[in-house]
């Protein structure tokens, strides 16, 4: 162990400048190449010069005092040190300095920064920012490391820890807000973003920033406190910024959800336009997907395609199947996938709604079909249970069955090249097609009638740990209970980001 944590050992410090020069070279040629040319060159050099082994398991190290690369698997890098008296090396798998005299890896802030910056440039050039930026890792800075060492108390969080669960006071018909807060605080990517405090406030005052408020709500939820939280500031911020939701009446949870996304996006990005192209605020990173709309002219079969962004999907429930009460309920129970099929079906626009076809250069009847072009990390479905017309406001209580794992691949837009695909090609083997599988993590329920209803939510705390959140009250729930409820909003996340092994 070096006596100064996070510093160079005396052997390396002695020739720091020389070592740094070679370190930069190795980083940019072997570890994070910044051009195609360097990537290609790397192929030849990325092996043990003595035994020619390759791959992560042989743990290659490059000597920083000459250009030898040796493996640790068969001790060739150690042999090089003994033969040549060179003692500073760098691990090619991790870019960390190694001192043979100390027989230790050595960390130094300035060296680390060189490696991190090179990695960022590689990510830019290979277009990997999807991974590098969308899930930014918390790398504690040196000041933060000091703070951590002053706070020796540690909390171990695993799948059995109840942390993250907290009741919410009802501030007078505010269950519409509470159920949404419960779902948002259990959205995996949002949790990672807020708990690692990545928000850099751009508002004039953090007190007027909904992102900052979300941040403090996450802090409250994960503080370990067991008494309910009072979300007054969030309510106040939403009231002042989305006036249509102000007042002590019951509001629509879906409307509140959309208004919250919109306000967080606005306050995080400083723009007033929703889904402003290329916005990479946390809301757009997580919730923005896109729909492809294909309008097909019935005369010439020409297709005109447009792409529209979305934050959530509103689904029609179709006709209520009343009068079939003799049949067992499970048989005629409509499924979420039925609604999705309906949503993505080609719809005839009718003779009254002719659209100008650019090919025929005249107004023609056409069909319109929506499909998913890009799926977001979190897909939320809004089941349209409330019908509002001029004369009538009514609630549709049709039961809708929804799965715990949802495959959205049948509703994806067909890739353009598919028509010309070689039918003998094996690459269309369905078992290799990329999965668009989503896992359920939150459900909002509306109980009662339109006027005197009450909202509650089911949230998934750990892979199989479900809880029912009813304002102040939090109770464990079974998955059967969740899957049989009369859902109003459904929240799914991309399956592979599931927290914990199945």
């Amino acid at each position: 162990m070096a006596d100064r944590p996070g510093g160079l050992c005396s052997h390396i410090a002695e020739q720091r400048d020389l070592v740094m020069e070679s370190y930069k070279i190795v980083i940019s040629f072997l570890i994070s190449p910044e051009s195609r040319e360097n990537l290609e060159k790397r192929v030849q050099r990325f092996k043990c010069y003595t035994c020619e082994s390759v791959g992560a398991r042989c743990r290659l190290h490059a000597c920083l005092q000459c250009c030898y690369v040796g493996c640790r698997l068969y001790n060739h890098s150690q042999e090089h040190h003994e033969e040549s008296n060179h003692h500073v090396a760098i691990s090619l798998s991790h870019g960390v300095l190694y001192c043979y005299l100390c027989a230790e890896y050595v960390h130094d802030y300035e060296f680390d920064i060189i490696a991190i910056k090179a990695r960022q440039r590689l990510a830019d050039f290979l277009d990997l920012n999807e991974f590098v930026r969308s899930v930014p890792l918390w790398n504690p800075k040196y000041g933060e490391l000091e703070l951590l060492s002053l706070q020796p108390k540690r909390m171990r969080v695993d799948s059995k820890t109840p942390i993250g669960l907290r009741g919410l006071y009802n501030l007078g018909n505010t269950c519409f807000m509470n159920c949404i807060i419960q779902c948002l605080t259990h959205t995996p990517f949002l949790r990672e973003y807020f708990l690692s405090q990545q928000h850099k406030c751009i508002r004039s005052s953090p007190a007027d920033c909904l992102v900052c408020e979300m941040c403090s709500i996450f802090q409250e939820f994960y503080s370990g406190k067991i008494f309910p939280h009072v979300p007054t500031r969030l309510l106040y911020l939403v009231w002042t910024h989305a006036q249509h939701l102000a007042g002590y009446e019951q509001q629509d949870a879906h409307e509140f959800f959309m208004a919250t996304l919109n306000l967080v996006h606005k306050h995080a990005s400083g723009t007033d336009i929703p889904y402003s192209g290329g916005c990479n605020c946390i809301i757009d990173v997580i919730f923005t997907g896109s729909l492809q709309s294909d309008v097909v002219c019935q005369s010439c079969h020409g297709v005109s395609t447009t792409i529209e962004p979305f934050w959530d999907i509103s689904l029609d429930l179709g006709q209520q199947t009343a009068g079939d009460s003799r049949k067992p309920r499970s048989l005629d129970r409509k499924k979420l996938t039925d609604c999705l099929e309906n949503f993505t079906r080609a719809e005839h626009l009718g003779s009254a709604a002719k659209i100008k076809c650019s090919k025929c250069n005249s107004y023609q009847e056409s069909t319109k079909q929506l499909t998913f072009k890009k799926l977001p990390l979190v897909v939320s479905f809004h089941l349209k249970r409330f019908e509002h017309s001029k004369l009538l406001h009514k609630k549709v209580s049709t039961p809708i069955a929804f799965p715990q794992q949802l495959d959205l691949s049948p509703y994806m837009a067909k890739p353009e090249e598919q028509e010309e695909a070689d039918p003998t090609s094996t690459s269309h083997d369905p078992s290799f097609s990329r999965p668009h599988t989503y896992s359920l993590f939150g459900v909002v329920i509306h109980q009662g009638t339109l006027q005197t209803g009450h909202y509650t939510a089911y949230i998934r705390q750990s892979p199989n740990g479900w809880f029912k959140c009813d304002d102040c009250e939090i109770k464990t729930a079974t998955i059967e209970e969740v899957l049989n409820c009369e859902a109003y909003l459904l929240f799914y996340h991309k399956k592979y980001i599931e927290y914990a092994v199945e």
């Binding site: 290609e40 027989a103 290979l126 990672e192 980001i497 092994v501």
Partner: protein, 95 residues
Amino acid sequence: MNQELSNRIRQKLVATGEEERLKELLKTRLLSSGWRDELSAVAREYLKAKGVQHVDVEELQNVLLVEARKSIPDTVKKELLVEIRDFVMQHEGIL
């Protein structure tokens, strides 16, 4: 798989930058699946039990390797496999 073929695939993976993409993908998945946290907990316990002065990186690496490989979620393995398969199919020239 024969050695020559696997070398050719590896070279193509490195030269096209696909290897780096897969690395980042894998890192992201392992992080979000909780794998990394679980593994660092194992490491911490080992260090505590033996005393941090008496363990070097080499030893820790050997101890963790078995557990690390064993605990990679199947979904992650499968996703990586599909990605690599897709890559090999796109570059049929390597076969």
